[in-house]
């Protein structure tokens, strides 16, 4: 059969990035990133169980500049995935499907996750 150049459905790179699509893929991205965080959580817990030496060794990485950068990226991802997850649960119940509402809820999710990340950073800095 000869190859026919039938029109294909528009693909991702054709579209201009929109808030809704960017937030959607970010939900997946943060999900994968947080799974790596879950693996690290297990390593951290194992280091506590293993004794002071391994805990101190892990903690040195956690408290370094790169450790703190990854840690706060995890904190932001956690708040984002949590807020956007609640947004998804609302959709599952049939609420918030109007275009205007999805944009409003999208901006709320972004604002809350940024604010909560900053608040967590302030609390940790203030506490320690």
């Amino acid at each position: 059969m000869a190859a026919v150049n039938r029109p294909l459905s528009p693909h991702l790179q054709i579209y201009k990035p929109q808030l809704t699509s960017v937030l959607s893929i970010t939900h997946r991205g943060t999900g994968v990133f947080l799974s790596l965080g879950a693996l690290f959580l297990s390593c951290w817990l194992l280091s506590i169980a293993n004794g002071p030496e391994s805990y101190t060794a892990v903690q040195q990485h956690v408290l370094s500049w790169y450790g703190q950068t990854i840690l706060y990226a995890w904190v932001f991802s956690l708040y984002y995935h949590l807020c956007n997850g609640i947004r998804h649960l609302c959709w599952d119940m049939g609420f918030g499907f109007e275009i205007k509402t999805t944009y409003i809820s999208g901006y709320i999710v972004l604002a809350v996750s940024i604010l909560f990340t900053i608040a967590t950073w302030c609390l940790v800095r203030g506490g320690v």
Binding site: L45, L46, Y55, L123
Partner: protein, 126 residues
């Protein structure tokens, strides 16, 4: 000639086979993770020091270990369900897809269980 009724065809080909359980488990763990995640962040942030003895003391509280075991279990369960969907969506090669999903399940089960065993070891003072 096909003697199957249209209703039988629909019943045999619908999407709602085992997929429904996957969706339901993803949503149930998501709901459980709302309070568990907030507790986890609160619990870590309210620790004044992060030295070894503080970490041990943290895990030796029965409430902390209980909630932390629940948190680790639910996180890993939710994570492997979510990544499975991503693998199914983006990997076209059937053999690679199945291999990745099997590997994912094994790694996540191992890591989740290791985390829980670590919590129990410290909690029981072994």
């Amino acid at each position: 000639m096909n003697l199957r009724t249209p209703l039988a065809k629909v019943r045999g080909l619908g999407s709602a086979k085992e997929g429904l359980h996957h969706w339901w488990a993803l949503k149930l763990t998501a709901i459980a993770l709302i309070p568990l995640t907030l507790w986890f962040i609160y619990s870590l942030v309210s620790m004044t020091t992060l030295d070894y003895l503080a970490a041990i003391g943290w895990l030796q509280s029965p409430m902390t270990s209980t909630l932390l075991i629940l948190f680790v279990f639910t996180v890993f369960y939710h994570a492997q369900l979510g990544i499975q969907v991503i693998i199914e969506d983006y990997i076209e090669n059937e053999a690679l897809k199945i291999t990745s999903i099997i590997l994912l399940k094994f790694v996540m089960l191992f890591a989740g269980l290791a985390g829980i065993v670590a919590i129990l070891k410290v909690f029981l003072g072994l």
